[in-house]
């Protein structure tokens, strides 16, 4: 896995459930659960290798220069603390502000995420807020210290469609205001098309295609990406939705060649024995496929 995001850029990571999107994000923050670890490699933030830092130093980075927006706004907030107190805690932790100024910052962050009546909502407990408001609070918590990188792990999957659009628009606006880099993890290609600058398609824990969003949607190269696109409903009723036969293989039982070969319409004998390298058949458009690569 290899990815880079520049300030102000939105990188989307797409793929089916279980292909390693969330694990990639957690690895970036050095928050992998027990039993998982980064086998090798580096994670650089402004040239500093996060993986080489001592734990205390990483704690200082988390929430201040790199922050994460979680998938489930219902469970990402502590039920026994007010929303404002939770945001203020992040402020106090990283900027050493006392109770009152930290609280003011928290209210300001809620205002930034367009929370209606932020001063009153800051005193509310999570269960008193709607799903959309909770997700705004979660975003406020991630943004309050103006991080350089925001990891958003399926920030809208738990929300209904109108709220989804609002939250995505909000993330875009805030990114423009703060100049942060955004890594958007999703399985929703519609979301990708609307918000991302560049896209990485993941399959079974590996990058299979990477391109600018227009390049990817206009001319997807990898058969998996093409399959994903074909599976998006277009609104012209009647036609049966295409699907990709089979499921993602468990990472413990990957086939020796290309991981997608067993489900791939183009797979030849070479695909089943040798893993395809990442090549760049068009400028800025990379793909890992024997049939479509350079």
């Amino acid at each position: 896995m290899d990815l880079a995001v520049a300030a102000g850029e939105t990188l989307a990571i797409v793929g089916e459930s279980g292909c390693g999107k969330t694990m990639t994000a957690l690895a970036l923050m050095r928050l992998l659960p027990e039993g998982a670890e980064v086998a090798a490699g580096t994670v650089r933030l402004d040239g500093q290798d996060i993986l080489a830092l001592p734990e205390r130093a990483v704690e200082d980075l988390r929430g201040s220069r790199i922050a994460m927006v979680f998938q489930e706004p219902m469970t990402a907030l502590n039920p026994v603390m007010t929303v404002g107190a939770q945001i203020a805690e992040a402020v106090a932790r990283h900027r050493g502000l006392g109770g009152r100024p930290a609280w003011a910052e928290a209210v300001e962050a809620l205002r930034l995420v367009r929370m209606p009546d932020p001063a009153a909502r800051a005193r509310a407990y999570p269960h008193e807020l709607s799903g959309g408001m909770r997700q705004r609070a979660v975003i406020a918590m991630a943004l309050v210290n103006r991080p350089r990188v925001i990891l958003a792990d399926e920030p809208t999957t738990a929300l209904d469609v109108t709220i989804q659009a609002q939250i995505l628009a909000l993330i875009g606006t805030l990114q423009a205001e703060l100049g942060s880099a955004v890594v958007l993890i999703t399985h929703d290609l519609g979301v990708v098309a609307e918000t991302a600058d560049r896209v990485i398609v993941m399959y079974a824990g590996r990058k299979v295609e990477e391109a600018a969003v227009t390049g990817l949607f206009d001319a997807p190269l990898h058969p998996y990406t093409q399959g994903l696109m074909a599976a998006v409903p277009r609104g012209r009723g009647g036609a049966r939705l295409a699907d990709i036969p089979g499921t993602v293989p468990p990472l413990s039982a990957l086939p020796p060649g290309c991981a997608f070969a067993p489900r791939c319409p183009l797979a030849g004998p070479r695909c089943r024995t040798l893993r395809p390298p990442l090549t760049e058949p068009r400028p800025g458009h990379r793909v890992a496929c024997w049939e479509r690569g350079a």
Binding site: L31, A67, F70, Q71, E72, P79, V138
Partner: protein, 281 residues
């Protein structure tokens, strides 16, 4: 609040506990006689206007001794429960959150303490430390902390996997901060329930020690010792044992009802189970 009032065991428990706590606090004012004030002409007096609950073998007023005994029992129970809850919670949080060898070592130590029969361990400790309010409370702390350690560890194991704990970690919170700010407040429910039930157990344990002669030495008016020497005068003055036994029973009942009530209030799953909604098997 309405749910609290609709819960009969909570209401009765609070009423009993509040009454006894109030009597204990106001003991010097509600007592009619000095606790060591003897009156040899009025030995084994029946309950009367002068002696509401009668007198004992030295003519001492039983009512006054009972309310003074409430002070002793409650003070020891409170100190023992607070100490046990504090130690057990700290151990349980550390074991549950850090896991691995920290968990292994802490829980094996807990098992060692659990291996001793509670009252025997407490007896041995008082025998070594000597009598006195502090020593009795201390020995009960040693006996009771394990329960909190196990319950809090179990709660921590569940809570540490919650998304908001991961979110706190992603905001740069240190383990200590996560334990105190995220996990402990969410584990407060079971700790509170356990503590209110534990107060009842501590009252029994303190009375048992006193009954066996390992509590505060006479003339301290402990309920347990009054019960014990009262048995020697069952024919002349049965009220001695009956009243002190009833005082112990009522106090423990009060704490148990309070604990059960709080559990219903704080644990919604328990509530549905109690109402029979999920009792299908």
């Amino acid at each position: 609040m309405r749910r609290a009032l609709a819960n009969p065991s909570l209401v009765i428990g609070v009423a009993i506990v509040a009454t006894i706590v109030l009597l204990a606090l106001l003991a010097p004012h509600v007592a009619t006689h000095g606790i060591a004030q003897m009156d040899m002409r009025n030995r084994f007096a029946l309950p009367s206007a002068e002696h509401w609950l009668g007198t004992d073998n030295f003519g001492r007023d039983l009512w006054s001794r009972m309310v003074a005994g409430a002070r002793i029992s409650l003070a020891i129970a409170l100190a023992a429960t607070a100490g046990a809850a504090a130690i057990g919670t700290a151990v349980g949080l550390a074991a549950g959150y850090f896991g691995g060898w920290v968990d292994l070592i802490l829980m094996r130590i807990t098992d060692i303490f659990l291996g001793f029969p509670a009252i025997v361990l407490a007896l041995a400790l008082v025998a070594v430390l000597g009598p006195g309010v502090t020593n009795v409370a201390l020995s009960l702390v040693v006996v009771f902390w394990t329960e909190y350690a196990r319950v809090v560890r179990a709660a921590t194991l569940v809570l540490r996997e919650q998304t908001y704990v991961a979110a706190a970690r992603a905001l740069g919170a240190s383990p200590a901060r996560i334990l105190v700010r995220e996990i402990l407040p969410n584990a407060a429910g079971p700790i509170i329930v356990l503590a209110s039930l534990g107060l009842g157990t501590a009252v029994i344990a303190e009375s048992a020690l006193a009954f066996l002669g390992f509590g505060l030495p006479p003339p301290a008016p402990t309920w347990g010792w009054t019960l014990a020497y009262g048995t020697g005068f069952m024919r002349e003055a049965p009220w001695l044992s009956i009243v002190s036994g009833a005082a112990i029973m009522l106090t423990v009942l009060g704490f148990n009802l309070l604990g059960d009530g709080l559990r219903d209030l704080l644990d919604p799953r328990q509530l549905t189970r109690a109402s029979g909604a999920t009792r299908k098997t």
